[in-house]
């Protein structure tokens, strides 16, 4: 005899311990099983695209810091690349290398939070995330040394970076790069083979390869599904074509694959930073750019491989000092497209874990 059940609606969010901000999942549950799920956005909508139309090209850079606030450097980089494409500015060699170093450090920092938060969502009580925040603090210290801020860096400029690195930066970075692989190994020992994590994450929240491509997923979500697609390799920007690194991919696209891909990407980032430090040339860090940039009429799109996926800026210029239109391709928002398909039929706990494994940042989703 089948038990007669009745579905009920449960709002997970907007204020909930594991929605990573103010995301709301309007779930229809049948007991513990998620029957339907509708994501609701907009609690952090600040209209950054509209605000950008009112600011000078340089004045938009602080706004981009506030998009994905866990990866401000990457946002800065994507934006300045777009402006440079639009205005035809050249960038000194040293600045390119500094940008790569910063972007890769930022990737490690963002992935640390992503993995930590995912494990926290799986119920590992605070331990992994605290260990990972400890390492992230070291990266933030380095950023603080370079640009004086720990979260909203505002470091990249059109035509280079705002400051050259101080003398004590490279020794400190060297120390960090030498230690980091050991810490990544420690994270692996902590939970990689943990039976409970395996049973919670393996085979759960599967995003098939075809669907991942079809929903335009990006970053670790796409690669976790087994697609070898990384803009650093596919369409190298800055000086990424000069470094050797691998693209880690998953096999089935479950939560565990996404978690593993992030861990492996951290190792690859360390590898890139090592090479960039060796190759770092001397020279200027910023080319001559007018105080108020007036790019010619036209449009430009620049994309980078941000920690969360493909981050793109589409700028339209009307030859004034402010962008006519600044559209942002936000990876976090687009990665959420398939969330409903991924969680339907799973339990509430799996929905939370799957959501955590996608790794979004509400600042970027809602803009």
């Amino acid at each position: 005899m089948a038990i007669k059940t009745e579905p009920f609606v449960l709002n997970l969010g907007p204020v909930h311990p594991s929605t990573h901000g103010v995301f709301r999942m309007r779930t229809t549950l049948d007991g513990e099983v998620v029957v339907d799920m509708e994501p609701v956005f907009g609690y952090l909508h600040r209209g950054i695209e509209k605000l950008a139309e009112e600011r000078t090209y340089t004045g938009v850079i602080p706004l981009t810091d506030r998009l994905d606030y866990l990866a401000s450097m990457s946002n800065n980089l994507a934006y300045v690349l777009a402006v440079e494409k639009l205005a035809g500015t050249t960038v000194p060699e040293r600045a390119e290398y500094l940008r790569v170093i910063m972007a890769e450090l930022q990737r490690i920092a963002s992935h640390l939070i992503a993995v930590g938060a995912f494990l926290n969502d799986c119920g590992a009580f605070m331990t992994p995330i605290l260990y990972m925040i400890r390492e992230r603090e070291k990266i933030l210290d380095l950023f603080d040394m370079v640009c004086g801020q720990r979260l909203t860096y505002n470091y990249m400029r059109v035509g280079g970076v705002s400051h050259d690195i101080p003398d004590e930066f490279l020794p400190a970075l060297d120390k960090f790069v030498r230690r980091m692989p050991g810490f990544i190994d420690e994270y692996d020992r902590l939970l990689e083979k943990n039976e409970i994590l395996l049973v919670r994450a393996k085979g759960v929240g599967i995003l098939p390869k075809e669907l991942a491509i079809n929903i335009s997923a990006g970053g670790p979500v796409l690669r976790g599904s087994g697609v070898k697609w990384d803009i650093r390799k596919a369409d190298p920007y800055s000086v990424y074509d000069r470094f050797e690194f691998d693209i880690p991919t998953g096999t089935v696209g479950d939560c565990y694959d996404r978690y593993r891909v992030r861990i492996e990407e951290m190792r690859q980032s360390v590898r890139i930073i090592k090479q960039a430090m060796e190759q770092l040339p001397l020279g200027a860090v910023k080319s001559e750019v007018p105080h108020l940039i007036r790019p010619p009429v036209g449009e430009a799109y620049a994309h980078i491989e941000a920690p969360k996926g493909e981050l793109g800026f589409y700028l339209v210029s009307d030859n004034s000092i402010a962008p006519y239109r600044c559209a942002i391709r936000a990876p976090s928002l687009i990665n959420l497209t398939a969330l409903r398909d991924m969680v339907r039929g799973w339990k509430v706990a799996d929905a939370i874990a799957t959501f955590g494994s996608i790794d979004i940042c509400m600042g970027e989703v809602d803009r």
């Binding site: 956005f41 907009g42 909508h45 209209g47 695209e49 509209k50 139309e53 669907l211 491509i213 079809n214 929903i215 335009s216 997923a217 697609v227 697609w229 596919a234 369409d235 190298p236 449009e299 799109y301 994309h303 493909e310 793109g312 589409y314 339209v316 006519y324 239109r325 559209a327 391709r329 928002l333 687009i334 959420l336 497209t337 398939a338 809602d366 803009r367």
Partner: protein, 146 residues
């Protein structure tokens, strides 16, 4: 390196297939008549040597006279990309066909455009405001919104 395909070359190919479908083409992009959009998109996605299986982004720009919706397509197989644009001249109730049936990645982005630009997409399964609440007056990303 992702090869940005020339809009003109693709336009030549498409012109035979869809007479009158291409409004304009340049090195960077091609502009498609909005009535032909879905057909062109299907062709671009399904033709093996084009194979645009990945829709990178959709954006809309308000040029006062018309709205321009920009589709940025990528083929992961051939590693090339193409920019397809379409225009919508009506201002009171602009409508375009939706491409969600081809690329589900368009889902939230079309909703976002509907929300902030006010362009409705025919055939979208769940066309609701994305960021702003139901009943919000106006569409903030239009240039005449203050």
């Amino acid at each position: 390196m992702t090869v940005a395909l020339s809009g003109q070359e693709i336009a030549d190919k498409l012109d035979k297939q869809f007479p009158g479908g291409i409004v304009e083409s340049s090195q960077d992009s091609l502009v498609v008549n909005s009535e032909f959009l879905l057909m062109v998109a299907t062709f671009l996605k399904d033709t093996p040597d084009l194979d645009f299986n990945y829709l990178t982004a959709i954006t809309a720009v308000d040029y006062y006279d018309y709205f321009e919706v920009v589709y940025r397509l990528t083929s992961m197989e051939h590693n090339h990309s193409l920019v397809v644009k379409t225009r919508c001249y009506e201002r009171a109730n602009p409508t375009l066909p939706s491409v969600v049936s081809l690329w589900r990645g368009a889902d939230f982005q079309e909703r976002e455009i509907y929300d902030l630009m006010g362009i409705s997409f025919d055939g979208h399964p769940n066309l609701k405001r994305l960021f702003l609440w139901q009943g919000f007056k106006g569409h903030p990303l239009r240039r005449d919104y203050w």
